[in-house]
């Protein structure tokens, strides 16, 4: 029944996240019609020398090139931008809360009086949260191949699942980070703000340090370009997520209520 409690605590956050991400993914598919109509008007030669000098020109050219095909457009718009960025945000939102937050609301003593260990509490909440993260990554991804025929295109089911898997693994890192931070702070705002700040810092740092390109793993860039999953990145994400959840359990174990 602990899973039921964890579900009840997070269900509205989860349902909202899945709905929003699904609508965004569907919107991206239907947005292809407008993009396809605009493509002939795009002229990459209009990029100013100043933009070329800063490297912005190559970024714009890459975007234009990617948007010329439906597969490239979907990867660029959905997997590289919307589902990745919003996926991080919702993974953090799902990870916030738990026993320490309960203690500020008063119900923690009831939970702690139950004949269960704190590790089981953390484990169950993490299990439910990770299952939600998985659904949050896979459901919107699957919407893309399902809706693609409506715009006269096709998107591979396996491709969608592969990208969904990448979103899940990296999303799990941010879920675990928020879970860990939630064992340190009683409110949900500080864990949320700190986790999102770390995500933003990583995004900027990855521009300078290529090894920190966690969002490249999340978008499945390697899979899009070469057809093989970023195994090292996924494994690293799994290890980091496990370490964060273990730290959360350890912190909670030592805490006085």
């Amino acid at each position: 029944m602990l899973w039921h409690k964890a579900w009840l605590e997070t269900r509205w956050r989860f349902i909202s996240a899945v709905l929003i991400l699904t609508v965004m993914a569907g919107g991206n598919v239907y947005g292809w019609l407008a993009t396809r109509a605009l493509l002939p008007q795009l002229n990459t030669t209009t990029i100013s020398p100043a933009a070329e000098a800063t490297g912005l020109g190559s970024v714009i050219r890459e975007a234009v090139e990617l948007n010329k095909t439906f597969r490239g457009y979907i990867w660029y718009q959905a997997f590289r931008q919307n589902l990745t960025q919003m996926g991080v945000l919702f993974a953090v939102v799902l990870g916030c809360g738990g026993l320490v937050t309960e203690s500020t609301q008063g119900s923690a003593l009831f939970t702690l009086s139950l004949p269960i260990t704190r590790r089981r509490l953390v484990g169950t909440r993490a299990g439910v949260g990770l299952a939600q993260c998985f659904a949050m990554a896979i459901v919107p991804s699957l919407v893309i191949p399902i809706l693609s025929p409506a715009v006269g295109e096709r998107f591979g089911l396996v491709d969608a699942l592969a990208h969904g898997l990448c979103i899940f693994f990296v999303g799990a890192v941010f879920f675990s980070l928020a879970s860990f931070l939630s064992t340190l702070f009683g409110d949900i705002w500080r864990p949320m703000l700190i986790a999102i700040s770390i995500a933003c810092a990583l995004a900027f740092a990855s521009l300078v340090i290529p090894q920190l390109r966690i969002f490249s793993v999340m978008s499945g860039e390697t899979y899009f370009k070469t057809g093989s999953l970023p195994w090292a990145g996924l494994l690293t994400s799994a290890v980091i997520a496990t370490a964060l959840l273990y730290s959360a359990a350890e912190t909670l174990e030592r805490r006085d209520f």
Binding site: Q105, S107, L109, S113, I116, D256
Partner: protein, 307 residues
Amino acid sequence: MFTEAEVHVVSDRPVIETAGLWKRYEGVEALRGLDLQVPSGSIFGFLGRNGSGKTTTIKVLLGMARPSRGEARVFGCSPSGQDGVEIRRRTAFVSDEKDLYDYMAVGEIVAFTRSFYPRWRADLEQQYLRKFELPLDRNIKGLSRGMRTKLAMLLALCRGADLLMLDEPTSGLDPAMAEEVLQALVGHVAAQESTVFFSSHQLAEVEQIADHVAIIDRGQTVVSDALDDLRARYRRIQLVFEGDAPEIRVHAPGTHRVRRQGRVITVLSSSSGDAVIQELRGYRPSSFDVSPVSLKDIFLESVRTED
């Protein structure tokens, strides 16, 4: 898990034992060498002023907080680690605030709690649902404080627990509701032969249902005994003089408080009073009266009010 043999052995010893229990929270010493023994089968009233360490003691006993020093044992086991799970399986707890999960309905939290207790009493569940008039489909968020308390009591009483640990069970309730909750508690204990350990500010209700009491002050036990023994031991001795009462100094052991007001001197004694009475008669008062005292008098005398 406890074996049958262990259960048998621990039944002869105090259900709760603490020895030299210390707990420090961020520089504040909530418990300072607390010694406590709660006999099996007793209804044990745990008294103290606000901030005296009652709730901290309960938290340590249930493994919610770890002692800084000293020892705490419930059913002969330490509350930390795996034994803590077994202690909580045999213990029902109601917190001071009675905060439950606001997002659950009454029926949901009953089903949720039931799932953790193999000895859950489905018959009592039905009985208390009717008695307390708790609507299964009502959201907990919408319950009044009284209804929340009743629900918290139901969740505790149906666990089939050997020990009920209640932190201020009637706080915030009107007298009628408080009486209803107390009667349910007394009726339950009479039928189930469990031990009750409850903290309270309500001295009248402690006197009404407890057979043992402990008074703690600033994290230490200052009085602990069977209530009847306390009543038998403590005496108020009143001396009235013809003129102004003289300054007196009582040396006999067991003298707690000496108050001098005009022609009257009042002495509180905790040792049947024989030696104290002998000594006080030496002052030759015009009238001399020895009377029993209430728990309130003992409480007020035991907890220091100066800071």
